[in-house]
Symmetry: C2
Subunit: 264 residues, 2 copies
């Protein structure tokens, strides 16, 4: 099943449904980026073809599988920006809340790009480590079989042998079978790698995302996505994880930040 | 009028009102952090005293002054986290949407703090530049008279003489008259400095915030707040601005990120 089919939504006029399929999970809980991508797809259907430039999700309860409802509410449909919010429910229980901004920006009017950092340099995907689910152990989780993720060889030692000690995780991401990337799969990519703190001294356990905010600067990147996630501040049981996603040509695709509970 | 009085809310059971007073504006538009602080205060009143750990606002329409309604909806009230969302309206028109997470985290259970960066070092507040409104010019705006902001002497040349060319803005922040900081004034602080791109080559004009996400790690810091905001990616007419707020003792207080339109 393609990612597009797995995140398909059905409905109209603010009332949508989706079937959350098995296999996109970590420890039996469906990946938050996958749920947020599905909700963004539902909201997108009510914007007359505008692309998401900002997506924020708040994760209320863990979702396994099943048919969820997605209620969509347009907060504002403006000349260049539309802001919508939505709520995913399962058996009437709220599971995820999301707000997204969709744009019809006249991009040629803004030639004044300014990019301070340069794209990170990774070994090519063929020299990275393909991470796949091992049915004998909970990690890597089933989710890793649904995407093509190649871990930077210096970073993913926590899964295999020793950790680096540095809260950073890097790798290449694409969909399986040559499926083209769209803004919804960019949302998925921002939550597709193992937590950066797995490379420091924290347990390799469930790291519940409280919320996740994404800025999408290129909704339809080509080729592999170069992904880098770092955590700088773990305090009071909370951590942030900041992501940068670049395309193969060194252009920024997305920025992300999540707030999560420290793994136990 | 204190900040607490200026952001006071009245109401109960999901229906609140606030009077947005004059003077907290930039070019006649009330500061977004001020509005978000007011909404956070309304949501906070429905959480049995929990403190906000995450606040996200989406700015739909500019607010000048007047009596606004704030509708609050509890998405989930859990054992340790409560998630609420709210909408600010003026004359029935939606102005701002916000979602916030409030916590009752048992902090002593999480001694495993990990802080990668160290606090930046600024000259002391008395050696920084007090920024105040000049009625003869639109910049600095009236808002600057409502707070005590001391700009880092290397950064604020764009207001005075030449710009640094580097999209960073730093300074000290506190409330006037010794008013103690609370989580709502921390929200204000994340949007209280001039845009970091004012120090690069962009116009010194209105820079509309699309959305603003804040992680609050210390809801009641003491003394001056040390604030640093940077922009790294200006693409397609959009920019992010990332903030770090530290207290005087070098502890992190808050992280923020906003998405804004490039000033014209």
């Amino acid at each position: 099943m393609s990612f597009a089919d797995a995140t398909a939504v059905h409905g109209s006029d603010g009332h949508w449904k989706a079937d959350i399929p098995p296999g996109w999970d970590i420890f039996g809980i469906t990946n938050g980026g996958f749920l947020l991508a599905t909700m963004t797809r539902a909201m997108s259907n009510e914007t007359d073809g505008r692309d998401p430039i900002s997506v924020t999700g708040h994760f209320l309860n863990p979702v396994s599988t099943g048919t969820v409802g997605i209620e969509v509410d347009t907060l504002k449909a403006g000349r260049t920006l539309s802001t919508l919010r939505s709520r995913m429910t399962l058996d009437g229980k709220p599971m995820v809340a999301a707000t997204a901004v969709f744009a019809d920006l006249d991009r040629p009017k803004h030639p004044s790009d300014l990019i301070v950092p340069t794209a990170p340099v990774f070994p090519p995907p063929e020299d990275c480590i393909s991470v796949k689910h091992d049915p004998e152990t909970p990690i890597p989780p089933p989710f890793t079989d649904r995407v093509d993720f190649r871990a930077h060889p210096e970073d993913l030692l926590g899964f295999v042998e020793e950790r680096t000690g540095s809260p950073i995780v890097r790798g290449w991401f694409r969909l399986l079978g040559g499926e083209a990337l769209d803004p919804f799969s960019v949302v998925l990519a921002t939550d597709a790698l193992p937590p950066a703190v797995f490379n420091s001294s924290f347990p390799l356990g469930w790291t519940p995302t409280i919320d996740l905010s994404i800025q999408i600067r290129n909704p339809r990147p080509a080729g592999w996505l170069q992904c880098q996630f770092t955590t700088r501040f773990v305090t009071g049981g909370l951590l942030e994880e900041d992501g940068e996603i670049w395309d193969e040509t060194g252009h920024i695709v997305a920025l992300s930040r999540q707030l999560a509970l420290v793994p136990r």
